[in-house]
Amino acid sequence: MSDGVEVVAERPQRRRVLITGLSSYWGGRLAEALESFAEVEAIVGVDTRDPTRELERTEFVKVSNQHGLIQRIVRAARIDTVIDARLVVDSITTSRQRAHENNVIGTMNVLAACAGEGSPVRRFVFKSSAHVYGAAQNDPAFFTEAMTRSQPPVTPIERDVVEAEASVVDFAGKQKRVDVTVLRCANVLGPDVRTSFAKLLSLPLVPMIAGFDPRLQFVHEDDIVHALEHATVNRIPGVFNVAADGVLALSEIVGLLGKRPLPVLPPWGAGLLSAPLRALRVQIPPEMRGMLRFGRGIDNRRYKASGFEYGYTTREAALAFSEHLRLQPILRGVESSYTYEGEVERFLRRSPLARPPRPDGEESGTAQEPFGI
């Protein structure tokens, strides 16, 4: 992976895209976004679960993490771009074993499916996490892509992320014909994604570790989706940090949300408190403890130099989140839920009776303007 940023201007080329983890939040959002790109000719999504978003032209294939099957799909559909958006970075979302299975074994399988003689894959985008840097006392205030963490990882999620990224870097070294882009995303904050941080910041009083006020940096969920799009349609091999402008003190974020800080967690032995805290519906996963003490800042300039523009600063992401918190009691339960029905999706895509809406947005047929105005 080269150090300097090279953005190779290329004429818009038709791309055939495979998204792994289609049913995850990021996979679904990205597929939805890529459907509106004219140069993206085909979108195939694979996952072990059913999709959670309504998609127009994305083809979904339910498949377990078996590289043999994924490889057959990649070759049969002549996929040239693979976006791996499966990584689990928050340990409260699933069990430790499942997270490991998905993050480490899953990544190996996807990479194996893209490798090999005659593979049509030319571009591989991996959504990684700023967890590769950790959060420790001796850290620099801003991690750049060239820096490594100051302590070996101890929490399971961080170990997984480090291992998964290492296998991607190894793949990039061996597969000379594939441009590999790794996006190390900061913690996400926004209206839609439920993360440990979002849960903590939703509490009426935000618990903090006494005597610590960590510097934190977030990125808005829309910016992560745009960052993945940017890496899909542009040729930008290398490792990039994805984080919004601005590193905020936790107390500052709490102030922006119009809440009060509650510095009650003890500076030492916070791990012992996790059981009583869970009873109070406060979950502080192990990978978050370092963040609550030392915080983490990452340098986002390299991705900006590749032509990417962020829509939100960390402060604006926090404000967007606070707007969501105010609306939440009103919107609860009203949000539309979508259930994937394979038969229906097949009918919509395959049946000659189903006519897709024209690209200019007008409905086909004569049903329009029934009064002939």
């Binding site: 801003f142 006494a210 006020d213 500076p267 130099a305 600063t313």
Partner: protein
């Protein structure tokens, strides 16, 4: 990539390093003002040697149980300079892990002394940074060793200035060494409290944590020396270890020489 630095958001009162205008303002108007003007009666020479813009690395001698020198140097630049500028003070990583210090120190302009932090401040942001190359060797030394400038580490500060193409400004502080004299140190209490070092001073630990602020009213003199330009030392001077060492030695010698001269002219420790 300087042009890609985050834009300043006018609604924020804390910068990306965690520095808080509000907290710093409160300290500046109360404690620091009191010590600077009335207690230490600081006298400043050569403040014009601090560049009015661009990155510059200030290098000073260091002493005192809870060293008051950094705050006084910062205050001198704020109050006496024709273009007052904020000063970022480098501190040990240790403080980031110690409750209380961890939350407070960044708010008043302290930054952990990581080479990457110094580089970003000097090169990318063009700020003023203060380092104490003596580090703990300076603050730990007992009152009998006053004004003996200790070894200057491995010259990392010179390398940092060279890489960042920043000027080096040596600073001499007289008075700090007598204001918080360390009579002895306690290894046992060091271990019990988990502190970097546990000084015994006229007021600490006898008056509790506040005893750390029980400074004796020594007269302070701060002298800023001629800046050293690191940009005219050839290509990639930071790679030349011999050059780095000789520049570090030169800075140390200049500080020691000026300290001797300042101390020899002083009639009284307390009245100056």
């Amino acid at each position: 990539m300087r042009e890609l630095l985050p834009a300043i958001e006018p609604d924020r009162r804390i910068d990306d390093w965690g520095r808080s205008e509000r907290v710093e303002g409160v300290f500046d108007a109360t404690l620091v003002e009191f010590f600077y003007r009335y207690w230490f009666r600081c006298e400043v020479e050569g403040v014009e040697n601090v560049p009015a813009d661009g990155g510059a690395l200030l290098v000073s001698n260091h002493a005192g149980a809870l060293p008051p020198d950094a705050a006084m140097i910062g205050k001198a630049i704020r109050d006496e300079h024709s273009h007052p500028r904020p000063l970022y003070m480098t501190v040990e990583h240790f403080f980031k892990g110690y409750p209380g210090f961890s939350a407070l120190l960044p708010k008043i302009g302290c930054v952990p002394a990581h080479p990457a932090n110094v580089h970003r401040l000097l090169y990318d942001e063009g700020q003023l940074v203060l380092v104490f190359p003596e580090g703990r060797k300076g603050t730990e030394k007992l009152v009998k060793d006053r004004y003996r400038v200790q070894r200057f580490g491995r010259g990392g500060f010179v390398e940092a200035a060279m890489r960042a193409e920043a000027k080096l400004v040596p600073v001499c502080v007289v008075g700090a060494e007598e204001s918080a004299p360390i009579v002895a140190r306690s290894r046992l209490l060091e271990r019990v409290t988990g502190l970097l070092y546990f000084p015994i001073t006229p007021t600490f630990p006898w008056l509790g944590p506040a005893g750390m602020l029980g400074y004796l009213p020594a007269k302070f003199r701060i002298r800023f020396l001629e800046p050293i330009d690191t940009t005219r030392m050839g290509d990639e001077p930071a790679e030349d270890k011999a050059l780095v060492q000789s520049v570090a030695q030169e800075v140390r010698a200049r500080i020691q020489e000026n300290l001797h001269e300042m101390v020899s002219r002083r009639k009284s420790v307390w009245l100056g």
